[in-house]
Amino acid sequence: MSIDLTFIAQIVIFILMVRVLWKLLYAPLNDAMEARNQKIEKGLAAAEAGVEAKAKAESLIAAQLAEAKTKALEIISAAEKRAVEVNEEAINKSRREAEQILDSAREEVLSELEHARQSLRQEIAGIAMLAAEKVIEAELDATRHAKMIESIVHEGLGAA
């Protein structure tokens, strides 16, 4: 139980072992652990950032949805208003067209009526002339009494 040369040899072995195990065992393991820790920290930071981004996106989506809803409501109300306007316009236009059609139909009827009166007048005049000619064929001068007969027929029809 004494100190001898073993002591010197043990110091050398110990120092060499510290150096070699530092390089071969401690450093690689420590580096691997640090690299993994950094990776995990990065992953956690990314996850945290992802959660924050998700929350931000969710709030953005909620805001955009609210805005879209407001806009949609505005568009719907504008569309409804426009639909009412278009409907009213269409009704008015239809009414106007109907009135125009009625007016033109009335005018046409009146014109047809006038035309019919004219032709009827002429026909009655012809018939009357023919009848009168038959009755008073000998005594009546057609050219001389035509105007008189026509005025009589005209007065007669006017009274009718």
Partner: protein
């Protein structure tokens, strides 16, 4: 007579297998058993480290890597808890001390008598299988640590360390007093201060080495006592019931002591490591003004 034989037997087991360069000088010898075992452990550790280095994975560790990472993590945490500044050398040093001492102490699981008989069968008269039982190893490690502590004390705070070495614990006499007589007394007390400080400083490696050596040596002696009292004495009485009971009791007590001593070995490795970290930490402590 029987007691003398027993003590002679135990003493025989506590002899080293040594080679003497000079018979007249007890320093000029080397303990071959200690050297062979420490070299085997060191080479085994280096081979293991080289093997593990090639198998390291970046992802989730498994098996041996996982276990070694737990050890490294524990040592890193211990160093971080005790160290005020970062020094990349401290953790590898603590790791080497812890693993090396633990492996040396673990050899104590092999029964001394068994190793002695195995050594005897190959022609060796003596063989000690626990290197930490040899005072040379704990002292060598403790002195290496002590030199490192002194190096950092001188490197990081030379003035403060010299002041502590020469003036503590009576620094106030020389530095704070305005009385010239007291100042002279302070100067006179410098050798006393130096002596006290040197005793304090040298107590560190001394306690560090003797704690480890004493625990491991005492453990081995107790195991040898158990073996000599309960096992070898009754080996010839195995035909009798008393002999069998004594033998079984000897095996159980020996096994119990071996397991307990393994725990002591683990504890001693941890204590050596933590005290090394603490001593180096004190050397790294910044000077308070």
């Amino acid at each position: 007579m029987a007691e003398q034989e027993q003590s002679g037997g135990i003493a025989e087991h506590l002899q080293y297998w040594s080679y003497k360069f000079d018979d007249s000088n007890p320093f000029m010898q080397i303990h071959l058993d200690t050297m062979i075992l420490t070299l085997m452990i060191a080479l085994g550790l280096i081979c293991f480290a080289a093997w593990l280095r090639g198998k390291l994975v970046e992802g989730a560790p498994t098996g041996v890597q996982n276990f070694m990472e737990s050890v490294i993590d524990f040592i890193n945490q211990t160093v971080k808890d005790n160290f005020p500044v970062h020094n990349p050398m401290i953790a590898p040093l603590a790791m080497t001390i812890f693993i090396f001492i633990l492996l040396c102490n673990s050899l104590d699981i092999l029964p001394s008598y068994l190793m002695h008989h195995i050594a005897g069968s190959v022609g060796l008269e003596t063989f000690r299988q626990v290197p930490t039982n040899d005072l040379n190893l704990p002292v060598a490690m403790a002195l290496s640590v002590f030199i490192l502590v002194l190096y950092y004390e001188f490197k990081l705070k030379p003035v403060h360390f010299m002041k502590e070495l020469l003036l503590q614990p009576f620094a106030a006499l020389l530095l704070d007093s305005k009385n010239p007589l007291v100042k002279v007394l302070g100067v006179i007390l410098i050798p006393l201060n130096l002596t006290l400080k040197l005793v304090e400083e040298f107590a560190k490696p001394l306690s560090l080495s003797f704690r480890l050596f004493g625990n491991m040596f005492a453990g081995e002696v107790i195991f040898l006592l158990i073996a000599s009292l309960l096992l070898t004495n009754s080996i010839n009485d195995l035909a009798s019931a008393g002999g069998i009971v004594t033998e079984v009791a000897g095996i159980l007590v020996g096994l119990g002591w071996s397991l307990f001593h393994m725990f002591i070995g683990l504890l001693q490795a941890f204590i050596f490591m933590i005290l090394t970290v603490v001593y180096l930490s004190i050397a790294h402590q910044p000077v308070e003004h």
